[in-house]
Symmetry: C2
Subunit: 166 residues, 2 copies
């Protein structure tokens, strides 16, 4: 289910890209600078909108890279505009498109670590379930919530995207 989950992350990154378009549309309609969205946040000690988007992107990208061993593009957090954030989202979507189901064959038993874990590790299976998936949705949903809180006209369907109904 690793591969299938990353396909869903890819789909949801596409939805996120659309929310940024809706934010730009609101700014145009109300004649304000669309890039003010980048510094908005829900609490003074929470991430800004820009950092929520960057972290959503990084969580998907780095998790896919760590679980497959396939190098991912490095991306400095230097975006200053909605358009630059959208380019970042699309670059992660393009990276996820290079990862195949076979690439995840050894994912569950890989040893995963991060600098902040100070030498400790997680198995790929634990990392995926306990860390990567919850963090991806945490930052994705905060990006959504910041936009909704500030009047952007998006709804639950824009979050979920199309469903495979039969």
């Amino acid at each position: 289910m690793y591969y299938e989950t990353f396909r869903q992350m890819k789909k949801l990154l596409g939805q996120l890209d659309g929310w940024l378009q809706s934010a730009a549309t609101l700014a145009q309609t109300k004649s304000f600078d669309p890039n003010v969205f980048l510094t908005l946040r829900l609490a003074p000690d929470q991430f800004t909108f820009a950092r929520q988007v960057q972290t959503t992107c990084d969580t998907a990208k780095l998790a896919a890279s760590r679980l497959t061993g396939k190098d991912a593009p490095a991306q400095p957090d230097s975006e200053q505009t909605l358009e630059e954030l959208r380019a970042r989202i699309r670059s992660v979507i393009a990276y996820l498109d290079t990862v195949t189901a076979e690439d995840f064959a050894a994912a569950a038993t890989r040893s995963i670590t991060q600098p902040r874990w100070e030498g400790k590790t997680m198995t790929g299976a634990d990392y995926f379930l306990e860390h990567a998936v919850p963090n991806f949705f945490f930052h994705l949903t905060h990006a959504y919530a910041i936009l909704r809180h500030n009047g952007v006209g998006i709804g639950k369907r824009d979050y979920l995207g199309p469903l495979t109904l039969r």
Copy 2:
């Protein structure tokens, strides 16, 4: 991975229960009615905090029930206090404890439907990945975001809970 994901949902519901305790503590410290949290929301046309919690609970409970065929307790949305919301969370945790890995044996191929789908269906696999998991995290994170926006002292560690570091 169905079973493992629902174990994670159970863990995160336990974290959610703790956030409500933190909300009650803030209310006590600042001498306001803790139950005002139930009606807070981030946008006038989004769910209230109470409904975010109820929907988080229902998403986990109904998805487990639909994917296993095991009946889940019916729960009217009648909670009026933080304590009643906490009892609801705990009742869903108790329900999830009754579901075993074997119960999900046929989950992927079950035919899932909801009244709002007007007769259409999803396979269990699609429903799980496209609907249940994203919705669970959407409402869980909105509950978190509403509390953070209103000054409750919780952080990312309270969201993720303990990790299986080695």
